[in-house]
Structure formats: structure tokens, C-alpha cells
């Protein structure tokens, strides 16, 4: 549950109304212990500004970097992080969970 002022989708809408290019990252699947449930969202703009969260801060940096590619290409993509994944381990998904994150450009 989120209010309109803190919902990443409303923030993304505001950014788009200001002419910024925006991507949305959505947690679509989780296994084991993961900090944010499916449906959690992160809004990212072309400059790497972001609002919301898709993990406890573990994989956000990686998601933001990829989001900028998605904004440029317009092609949606799926990211997967898990304990066995070296990137996730480096990014610190130490909770032992695994998550899939869908990235798409808005508009």
C-alpha cells in the first residue's frame, strides 16, 4: 500500500510530464527471503535519478544502470539476481533470496 505521493508510478508520471525519459523496474517474482514483494517498483530517469525500491538496496545500482540502456533502446528486459549470481553477491543480496525484475521504458 502506498499513497499517491510516494508511489513510484505517480513520481514517474510527474517526471514524464516534465519531459524526462523514464523506465520502470518491477519485481515480478521472488524466491526465498527477498526484501520486497512482487509488484514493488522503482522509477528511473535517463540521468539515473530514482524513486522507490525493488530490494533492500542490494541490487538497485545494477537495475539503474540497465534501466538507462532500456530508456535508450526502448526494449524491455528481464533481470535476475540470486545468491548464486556473482553480480548479486557483489551487489550484496546477502539475504539468500532470488528475484526477477522486469524493466520497461514508459511512454
Amino acid at each position: 500500500m502506498v499513497s499517491e505521493t510516494s508511489d513510484p508510478l505517480f513520481i514517474a508520471e510527474g517526471w514524464m510530464n516534465n519531459g524526462r525519459a523514464v523506465a520502470i523496474a518491477t519485481v515480478v517474482e521472488t524466491w526465498g527471503s527477498s526484501p520486497r514483494p512482487a509488484g514493488s517498483q522503482l522509477a528511473i530517469d535517463e540521468d539515473g535519478n530514482f524513486e522507490g525500491s525493488v530490494s533492500g538496496g542490494c541490487v538497485e545500482a545494477e537495475v539503474i544502470t540497465t534501466a538507462i540502456d532500456v530508456i535508450r533502446s526502448g526494449e524491455p528486459t528481464m533481470l535476475e539476481f540470486g545468491v548464486a549470481d556473482e553480480v548479486a553477491w557483489r551487489a550484496g543480496l546477502s539475504c539468500g533470496g532470488r528475484i526477477r525484475i522486469y524493466l520497461e521504458r514508459l511512454g
Partner: protein, 219 residues
Amino acid sequence: MRQAAIHLTDLADGRDRVILQNDAVAGELGAAIAQTFAAGRSRLVTANGREFFLNLHQPALRLVLVGAVHVSQTLAPMAAKLGYEVEIIDPRTGFATSARFPETEVIAEWPQDVLTNRPLDRYSALAALSHDPKIDDPALESALEAGCFYIGALGSRKTHEKRIERLRQKGIDDDRLRRVHAPIGLAIGAANPQEIAVAILAEVVQAFRVGSIAEEARN
């Protein structure tokens, strides 16, 4: 009427659409959509060999505080932080001032008038805190009628017994009256208005997460 919606995305091609709770969707996907509304949680499903993400959006939760009292001064900003849309109703103009509640919508009118114009629903919670039956009782009646996911009333067991008797005489049956949480708040030994606010807010969250809406979803 406020209702839930699902944002459906086909993960293979990125195509998406929005589905309201009463929209008819046929087949395997329709069944998955119905289950997602019932479960109250976003999820990934496979239907007709394709992967879909069903992102459930529920209306913002509303918390109505009846009584612009000391407890409300802590409860209102805390609930707002949690994302609740908070409003305070109290016809006593000496209590219901924006000076006492700088961050919250305060309505200096009778609850029965306000709640007629802005009806409660199942995504609403109501806490009756004024300690005055003339103010609290009509609000509780509205909340019971609307099926709010949480209804609480401040006061001792003795006060509550008298309240139940009054509401019973208004024709509200005991099954419904059992929905009123009283004494209000989780039993954390709250010793002052601020701690009572914490106890009430915890009880509201519990009611939403493991209470009526969540329970319906499990059944």
C-alpha cells in the same frame, strides 16, 4: 466506488492492459486474474503457455479519526507516513483546529454529515477517539455499515459495554458489533497518548494484513 485494478503485462512482448475487478476475462488468464484479486497480492502467472505479470493496485487506505484529541496528534502523522490518507473529524471547534493538526485534514463537523458526503468503504479504517457517545456512536454506525477493514473505539471495557448496549438498541446485531476493537489498540501496555497511538496504528496494520481483506483472500 473505489476498487482494485490489475496492470497486466505480457512478459514476452511487453504488451499491457488494465483490468478492473468487475471486468470479465475468459479462460485460464481470467481464472488467474480472479485469484490475484482475491489473494490481494501481485504475482507472476503462466496462462496459455505465456508468462504474465499481474500487478495488483489497491485503493489507498483511508484512516478516519473521530476526535481531534491528544492521541490523534501522534496517530495522524504516523499513519500518513505509512501511506494512509488520514482525516480527523470532530464537531468541537475548539479541538478541531489546524493549529493543533498542522499536517492533517481536520473537519469540524459531525461525523454523520461528513461520512454521508465521503462514504467509508472496505479500504477504510475508523477509530472513534472522542470519548463522547454523541460524536463516536454515529461514526461507529457508519463504519459498521460500510464494512471498514478496521473499527476501533477508545474507552474501558465498562465504557464499551455501555456503547455496545446503545448500538444494539439501534438495531445493530452482535455479530457486527464484535467487529469493534475495544479496548482499542494492541496490548503493549501503552502508558500515554503517544504510546496509545502506536498501539492503535499497529492494530490497524494487523487488521489489514491479517484481518478481514486478507482473510477473505485466504478463503
